[in-house]
């Protein structure tokens, strides 16, 4: 478990984009639309479910300044993950509140908005199915009556009715295990609402039509997905679309899907002009591709000594009106809800359920966050049932070297158990001072997530001045990977300083294909591709230097911007001279590299409807929360928060600690007060910052962080993604600590004061809970 802290890639290298961001000079996509740009708006559905009888844009088209109008037939293709079920425009049917029906571009935003008010839409109302319970009830109205005719992009899943996708796991015989005489059976049901990402830059795009191709500048995490989806819905070749990405003002997974881009592209082609489309804050909130609301039922058969001989669960995930990311995420319950612990046998069903509500999406650690909440609360209830200390139970049962995962993968290395020990070592010698009258609770939770690997490519061009240009499809969303880990990796490989590494932001005309920035994969996948590109550059550089220095390449080292003869500092020559020599003899030096992981296999026949069989790079986290509950108000105050995070190797420890602080605070919002409720119209009650409550400075504490290094990883230099996972077990740690403080079971998030008070008093909350 030792890592070489002196590796040249490891440093607290500061971000190069900080000065411009601090001076307001950074131009995000939302800042780009100048006077030459048309401004677009979307006319969105104001009901959750209806048949569209007529859309008349005659009057809108005659409004001042209007340059182009687009409706369903302008972008007829369907897109999706697993199944192509989603149109970009509602054509004949409205399936959710906020669904786009018409797009309008005008000279000014005010003109576009005025024209939008002149669009006539005749609809015939249909019953709206707003909750999963309604959607799954016998005889429920089908949200997609034509579901069977949709193009299937990935085979092998159960589908039908209002179930967009079903994934399942069956390992071993749970039935006989539950029937064993020596086990206690513990059951629980847990519910969570939606969480909104609230990136400060909303989704935004600027599109133009140049030389017969679309150019899309967009605030996205996934330029190649935008290219693929835009071309699919427009019915054109993907190569007709170029995507470039300016600085992104926050993503958190919301921008892991293509959303606004096709509308702007269509309007740009129709108007012959550059078109800007930016969500208003209300649109951004009301159509947020949230972390989905979900219901988790879980039961376990446990022996008196704490062995989990069987676990069964059913997870219902609300995907909203279209499948989206939730289709893929049905896979992940196997590795989160059925993660963390060694299980004798497993039976799991996960359903993505259609409702007439705004579609959901990906959000930092996705369903891992609530599955960890449910699993860890369930674990504490098991501990209560068998009267075992929760920490001791976890020490005995967490997965370790050789443990079998839910789908049969074999884990490598003992990681969680030593992380638990490290967490205990972080505790202060003295218990915290708790003011009189407040209820104190503490809890320690474990979590399992993964790095979403997949394909990446990179090219490194060595410049005459000794700098290097790194070309990838990476984008800077704020996490710093493009500013820190990638240039650090390239610099270390080439023996130059990171400041001499130019990092180009994604341009699908320049970079190779890529899965995108998310799932903790940038440092791992793009980093590995970059390192591979550097290997080619190194080989060429050393071959050229070998001629100049009359020394075989194996005896040369790259360091400090020079090529040195091993063991004889100062004897070599500068990289610039070697590049100059190479340009005359073999041509400029460049290299390219690529990366993917073929995937870890599951046990045959064990998993159905899964997008991945097992997790290539597991990432573990241990969190501990100390808090107080005010018995009269139900208000929760965080006293201390500790994290031990499995990072593989920390390339930039300071930046990772900042990611942990930020991720934990987003998790505190989820655990305590970020709540979305869906009203009878099928829209969210929380339309903006006044009602959707984000954590403020006074709500948070400095998170104590211990970075656990040395766990096995496929990542370059042993790295794992570090930005995704800090939010993973916050809901779990807070919920378990609140349960310990109030002595009542906690089964629902967020723990708003009314909800905590209801638990304390045994009385119901005054208003209905989030629709599930």
């Amino acid at each position: 478990m030792n890592t070489d802290a002196r590796h040249p890639a490891v440093m607290d290298y500061p971000r190069r984009d900080a000065s411009d961001k601090l001076q307001g000079r950074t131009r995000y996509t939302a800042d780009l639309g100048g006077l030459e740009t048309l401004h677009a708006v979307l006319v969105r559905a104001e009901v959750a479910s209806a048949r569209i009888l007529r859309v008349d844009v005659t009057r809108a088209r005659a409004m001042p300044g209007v340059r182009a109008i687009a409706i369903a037939h302008d972008g007829p293709g369907l897109h999706g993950i697993g199944i192509a079920d989603q149109p970009i425009f509602a054509g004949s049917v409205i399936r959710h509140h906020g669904e786009p029906i018409v797009a309008i571009a005008a000279d000014t935003l005010v003109q576009a908005q005025a024209a939008a008010r002149e669009v006539l839409i005749d609809t015939e109302p249909m019953r709206a199915v707003l909750t999963m319970a309604e959607a799954l009830a016998p005889g429920a109205q089908l949200i997609h009556p034509d579901w069977a005719s949709y193009e299937v992009l990935k085979e092998g899943a159960e589908r039908g009715g209002n179930i967009a996708w079903e994934a399942s796991v069956q390992r071993g015989d749970t039935k006989s295990a539950f029937a064993r005489p020596d086990v206690v059976v513990v059951e629980g049901t847990y519910e969570v609402g939606r969480q909104s990402h609230v990136p400060f830059e909303p989704r935004a795009v600027i599109a133009s039509f140049e030389d017969g191709r679309y150019h899309i500048q967009t605030s996205t995490q996934v330029p190649w997905t935008v290219r693929a989806v835009t071309s699919k819905v427009l019915g054109i070749a993907p190569s007709m679309v170029r995507v470039t990405v300016p600085s992104v003002g926050g993503g958190f997974g919301l921008k892991f899907d293509c959303t606004l881009e096709p509308y702007a592209a269509i309007l740009a082609r129709k108007s012959g002009r550059t078109v800007s489309l930016v969500n208003s804050r209300e649109e951004e909130q009301m159509t947020c591709l949230c972390r989905e609301n979900a219901q988790i039922r879980i039961r376990s058969a446990v022996t008196a000594s704490g062995e989990i001989v069987a676990r069964e669960a059913e997870v219902l995930m609300d995907c909203g009106a279209y499948g989206g990311e939730q289709v893929f995420l049905t896979t992940m319950t196997a590795h989160t809800l059925m993660g963390n612990y060694r299980l004798g046998s497993v039976r799991l069903t996960t359903k993505a359920v259609y409702t007439n509500t705004p579609p959901n999406g990906a959000f930092r650690a996705c369903n891992g966050v609530y599955n960890t909440f449910a699993l860890e609360r369930h674990t504490d209830e098991i501990c209560g049932s068998i009267r075992m200390d929760p920490l001791e139970f976890r020490r005995r049962n967490v997965v370790g070297d050789g443990s079998l995962g839910a789908t049969g993968q074999v884990f490598q290395g003992d990681v969680l158990r030593p992380m638990l020990d490290r967490l205990v070592q972080m505790r202060p010698a003295k218990d915290p001072a708790v003011p009189d009258g407040l209820l104190y609770g503490r809890a320690t939770t474990v979590g399992t997530w993964f790095v979403f690997v997949g394909p990446s490519t990179a090219t490194v061009n060595l410049n005459a001045d000794g700098s290097a240009t790194l070309v990838t499809a990476g984008v800077e969303i704020g996490s710093g990977t493009m500013m820190q880990s990638l240039p650090q990796i390239v610099a270390a490989e080439l023996g130059i300083h990171p400041s001499a590494v130019i990092v180009k932001s994604a341009d699908t005309d320049a970079s190779g294909r890529d899965m995108g920035v998310g799932g903790g994969r940038t440092t791992v996948s793009i980093g590995a591709a970059s390192a591979a590109a550097c290997a080619e550059v190194r080989a060429k550089l050393l071959a050229s230097a070998s001629e100049l220095l009359q020394t075989e390449p194996a005896k040369l080292v790259l360091t400090g911007g020079r090529v040195e003869i091993m063991g004889r500092p100062g004897s070599g020559t500068s990289i610039q001279k070697v590049i100059q020599h190479a340009e005359m003899v073999t041509g400029p030096i460049s290299g390219s590299g690529s990366f993917t992981a073929p995937g870890v296999a599951a046990l045959p026949g064990c998993a159905a409807g899964h997008f991945i069989d097992a997790i290539d790079i597991p990432v573990f986290a241990v969190h501990e929360c100390e808090l107080t509950v005010h018995p009269a108000t139900g208000h929760v105050t965080i006293l201390a928060y500790r994290v031990v995070q499995d990072v593989g190797r920390a390339l930039n420890p300071r930046a990772i600690r900042s990611q942990v602080q930020g991720g934990v605070v987003q998790g505190l919002g989820y655990a305590l007060h970020e709540e979305i409720t869906i009203n009878t119209k099928g829209s969210f009650d929380q339309r903006g910052f006044e009602s959707y409550l984000l954590p403020l400075a006074e709500d948070v504490v400095p998170v104590e962080v211990d970075l656990f290094e040395g766990a096995p990883s496929l990542g370059p230099l042993g790295t794992k993604g570090a930005g995704e996972v800090p939010i993973l077990n916050v809901g779990a740690a807070v919920a378990c600590a609140v349960a310990n403080a109030i002595g009542k079971p906690v089964a629902q998030l967020p723990l708003t004061p009314p909800r905590v008070l209801a638990l304390l008093t045994g009385r119901l909350m005054p208003q209905a809970a989030t629709a599930v």
Binding site: L22, R25, D31, E201, G250
Partner: protein, 155 residues
């Protein structure tokens, strides 16, 4: 309606609807996009500017009320290519992430430091009530502000 105001030290003239928010005037008329539109309701603080010496959200100020006012935006806070001490602390301590909240954060805290040059941790947090950050979890920002004191005290 015509409004004359001093913007980043220069006299500028706006002609248009007096109800237009200062935020929109800055971004659209003068193309000063450093002032960020995020919530447009006064909660997030990303659009904070200095008006006659006070740090206020520009989204809540109609331009018609600003005849003769002196407005400083993030672009006019320091010399071109120079950072003030607070910006420098944020940069040196690698506090910035997506960066959308920082222009407003800098405008609020720069003004706060004028009246309270040696604030406590709690006072800094209280001063940030009107500035929301979705990325950083705040504490590194507070650390950076505090570090300026220890540096000054050390001198």
């Amino acid at each position: 309606m015509t409004v004359n105001l001093t913007l980043n030290g220069e006299i500028r003239t706006f002609f248009g609807d007096p109800r237009t928010s200062l935020l929109d005037v800055l971004r659209e008329t003068f193309r000063l996009t450093g002032t960020k539109p995020v919530c447009r309701e006064g909660f997030c603080g990303a659009c904070v500017v200095h008006i006659d010496g006070l740090a206020v959200p520009s989204c809540l100020r109609p331009i018609g009320l600003l005849q003769g006012a002196s407005v400083t935006t993030i672009e006019g806070l320091a010399q071109v290519d120079a950072l003030n001490a607070l910006q420098l602390a944020f940069k040196d301590q690698d506090v910035v992430q997506c960066g959308m909240c920082f222009p407003g954060m800098v405008m609020t805290l720069s003004k706060f430091q004028e009246t309270n040059p040696t604030p406590s941790r709690a006072e800094i947090k209280a001063a940030m009530i009107g500035n929301i950050c979705r990325c950083t979890g705040y504490e590194r920002i507070v650390d950076a502000v505090l570090s300026m004191q220890s540096r000054e005290n050390a001198q």
